[in-house]
């Protein structure tokens, strides 16, 4: 299993006696990255970063550079690399279009709290503000979608900024940090200074958890008759799955993960209710709606989770645990707020519980009976067909063939929801998905980044025919670096989720959702030097998937599925979680 914890500080390895030598900024940058433990950079060269690339060619094998085919692909790769491994993802792009192409990835990482350091080239200091060739105000553009950003003004501050950027990216609520470096700074000479202690008087990510709130929370948990654990990405960032498991088992609590939390609690476990929210399970949503206590950990009460806020969990007291104080009571009022990372808070809760006798699971018998009743009333189900492959069937088959242990990256839309419903992730850092931003084109490069972090694991990009075409050019990257990435294209010949909404809410007035012309994905794979397979008949599904997954190298599996299939159950827009449409 990958390491799940994000260290607060990175160890600082020796830098081959590089200290106390004059060197140009470009080399200082790379030495500083190596000090932070970086060995892989995803990037794309250009004019403003020529000095850096000049040094990069000399930095092998200490630094490996993965040449993407588009900067958006490079950032998504770094995100997948980071999400799967827990390490900070590093990106290097040039000024102007290099930076603007990277924005979707940066915004995506910001929404999903993925630690990245993105280095962007900038025109020489003297030309800034002159509308120079390939100049753009990168600092201005990235300010609202980064945790922090820097413009490096002199070579002397470069090493310190790199160190601080990594500290910010991985501490507290993680996120992307941009370092914008004018070209002259990378050419100027300086000494590689020893890193100094980061001093940020207003930034205290390691807040001490209030012990009184822990006592209050435990008392509420023990008294609750209808409790639910609502858990998300914060569990995964903090590496708190074991603690979550211990708490849930000890108190026999139902657990429902968000999309970002998939795998933080094993899906097949009897205490797992499956995902909640717009396309969550009926019983998870009903449980939240009827709960008298919600223990929310590392979640942000996103609108796709809560449905109509005024109808959300009206009978429940809310205990909200989050590392980011601005998430508390942002959308839903917290009766008890605990600021802290999921791991430290859960550890303290478990320690506090040791002072109580373990309550009998039977105290929640009536509650579990009610939940089981909902589960019986509306289990996840779909109609099978002898003639056409159902997308849900594809997800179940993938689960069976990979035992729920693969790392799978998705885009956004129907395929993403079906995978969340039917794949059944076993552990944390297996599900990579664009949750907050909902960016098509994320899945394939993210899978590729994860594969580069774990060359020997089964990594699958599970994408739609629409999303795949947004970043399909990264097939060249996947093949160039001899990866084993597998791409399963759930091909319904349409923009399925938009089509579903047009069907249900716009009286089947289908407007520009048919992919009337797509490339032959098998031939596309061949063109890039990958293997291409197609399956259209349900009887052949298993054979083709087995073959595709077992074939070494990059394999594109074009799985043609039912077009007119909808994702159910569903909370319609404006409705509450307790008002699901079952399909």
């Amino acid at each position: 299993m990958p390491s799940t914890a994000i260290e607060d500080r990175c160890p600082m390895p020796d830098t081959d006696g590089a200290t106390a030598q004059m060197m140009r900024g470009a080399r200082i940058l790379l030495e500083s990255l190596i000090r932070e433990g970086v060995d892989t950079i995803f990037g794309y060269p250009g004019g403003a970063v020529l000095h850096i690339y000049d040094e990069l060619a000399k930095a092998a094998p200490r630094l490996r550079h993965i040449l993407a085919r588009h900067e958006q692909g490079a950032v998504h790769m770094a995100e997948g690399y980071s999400k799967a491994s827990g390490r900070v993802g590093v990106v290097l792009v040039t000024s102007g279009p290099g930076a603007t192409n990277a924005i979707t990835g940066i915004a995506n990482a910001y929404m999903d709290s993925t630690p990245l350091v993105v280095i962007t080239g900038q025109v020489p200091s003297k030309m800034i503000g002159t509308d120079a060739f390939q100049e753009v105000d990168t600092i201005g553009i990235t300010r609202p979608c980064t945790k922090y950003n820097y413009m490096v003004r002199t070579v002397n501050e470069l090493a310190e900024i790199v160190h601080e950027a990594f500290y910010l990216a991985r501490s507290g609520r993680p996120g992307p940090v941009v370092i914008d470096i004018p070209k002259d700074v990378t050419a100027d000479q300086a000494l590689l200074a020893d890193p100094v202690e980061v001093r940020l008087p207003g930034y205290q990510p390691g807040v001490t958890v209030d012990p009184q709130q822990i006592v209050r929370a435990i008392a509420k948990l023990l008294a609750a008759r209808r409790p639910v654990l609502y858990v998300g990405g914060g569990i995964i960032h903090a590496g708190a799955s074991e603690e979550l498991f211990a708490l849930a088992e000890k108190l026999h609590l139902p657990v429902t993960p968000t999309l970002m939390g998939l795998g933080c609690f094993p899906s097949g476990h009897p205490l797992s209710l499956g995902m909640l929210g717009m396309h969550g399970t009926y019983w998870a949503n009903m449980a939240i709606s009827a709960a008298d206590l919600i223990l929310a950990i590392g979640v942000r009460f996103d609108d796709r989770v809560t449905g109509a806020l005024e109808k959300f969990a009206r009978q429940a007291e809310v205990i909200h645990v989050d590392v980011d104080p601005s998430s508390i009571s942002k959308n839903v009022h917290a009766h008890c707020a605990i600021i802290g990372d999921a791991k430290s808070v859960l550890q303290r809760m478990l320690a506090a519980l040791d002072e109580h006798s373990v309550p009998s699971p039977s105290r929640l018998d009536a509650w579990w009976e009610q939940i089981d009743g909902w589960k019986l009333k509306a289990p996840l189900t779909y109609e099978r067909s002898r003639t056409v492959i159902k997308p849900q069937q594809l997800c179940e088959e993938l689960h069976r063939l990979t035992r729920g242990e693969a790392i799978i990256a998705t885009d956004v839309g129907q395929h993403q929801m079906w995978l969340a419903q039917y794949y059944g992730f076993r552990g944390p850092r297996q599900s990579l998905t664009s949750g907050g931003l909902g960016a098509m084109g994320y899945g394939f490069p993210a899978a590729l980044g994860a594969q580069i972090a774990f060359p020997d694991r089964q990594v699958i990009a599970f994408v739609g025919d629409g999303g795949f075409q947004m970043t399909a050019q990264e097939l060249a990257t996947a093949v160039q670096y001899r990866t084993n990435t597998k791409i399963v294209v759930m091909n319904n010949n349409s923009l399925g989720m938009v089509r579903q909404w047009q069907e249900i809410f716009y009286q089947r007035n289908y407007s520009h959702v048919d992919m009337e012309w797509s490339p032959d994905f098998v031939k596309l794979a061949h063109a890039y030097g990958a293997v291409g397979l197609r399956v259209t008949h349900p009887a052949e599904l298993t054979t083709v998937l087995e073959k595709g997954l077992a074939t070494p190298g990059v394999v594109v599996m074009d799985v043609v599925v039912e077009t007119e299939e909808n994702v159910y159950p569903m909370v319609p827009p404006g409705a509450g979680l307790g008002e699901m449409v079952l399909g």
Binding site: I139, R143, M151, L200, G202, Y203, S326, I328, K330
Partner: protein, 160 residues
């Protein structure tokens, strides 16, 4: 409701833009804004007046607090604090009568004549926001040819 926020932030380029950007991105209006160094030149104090219901302002305060280089945010509204604003007004006073009446107003209120011109005067006044609004209203009939307000500065009466 009107809220006065006092924000201590590291005195570095770009930090004010971050604070202001949080407001504009969420569609919150900034009614006034003043910034200057504190006793510690590495820290600036921003006084910002905004309006919104308590929940909105609580969310703004949290978001501003989240900024990496913001050291402290205090919503002074409801706390014991001292708030002042300075206004410069160019008032028309074409004849002797008008001139005398403006001077009378100046002496009755806490104002100062900053400059006398052949057909008017520039008045300098300091006071609470509401007082400055009243003053402007009283001078309006004479004809205001120009006005500039600094926006509020505010100081907590409690020790930091």
């Amino acid at each position: 409701m009107r809220h006065t926020l006092s924000i201590l932030v590291e005195n570095r380029y770009g930090e004010l833009a971050r604070i202001v950007g949080l407001f504009s991105a969420r569609g919150y209006n900034i009614e006034s804004l003043t910034v200057a160094e504190t006793l510690d030149p590495s820290i600036s104090c921003v006084t910002m007046v905004t309006s919104g219901d308590d929940r909105t302002v609580e969310q703004i305060v949290k978001q501003v607090n989240k900024l990496v280089r913001v050291v402290k945010v205090t919503d002074l509204t409801g706390l014991s604090h001292f708030e002042r604003e300075m206004v410069l007004i160019n008032v028309k006073a074409g004849d002797q009568i008008a001139f005398q009446r403006v001077l009378q107003l100046v002496s009755q209120n806490q104002m100062r004549v900053a400059e006398v011109m052949p057909d008017g005067l520039i008045i300098e006044a300091t006071g609470k926001w509401e007082e400055m609004n009243d003053l402007v209203r009283e001078l309006m009939p004479f004809g205001i040819r120009g006005i500039v307000r600094t926006g509020a500065v505010a100081l907590s009466k409690e020790a930091n």
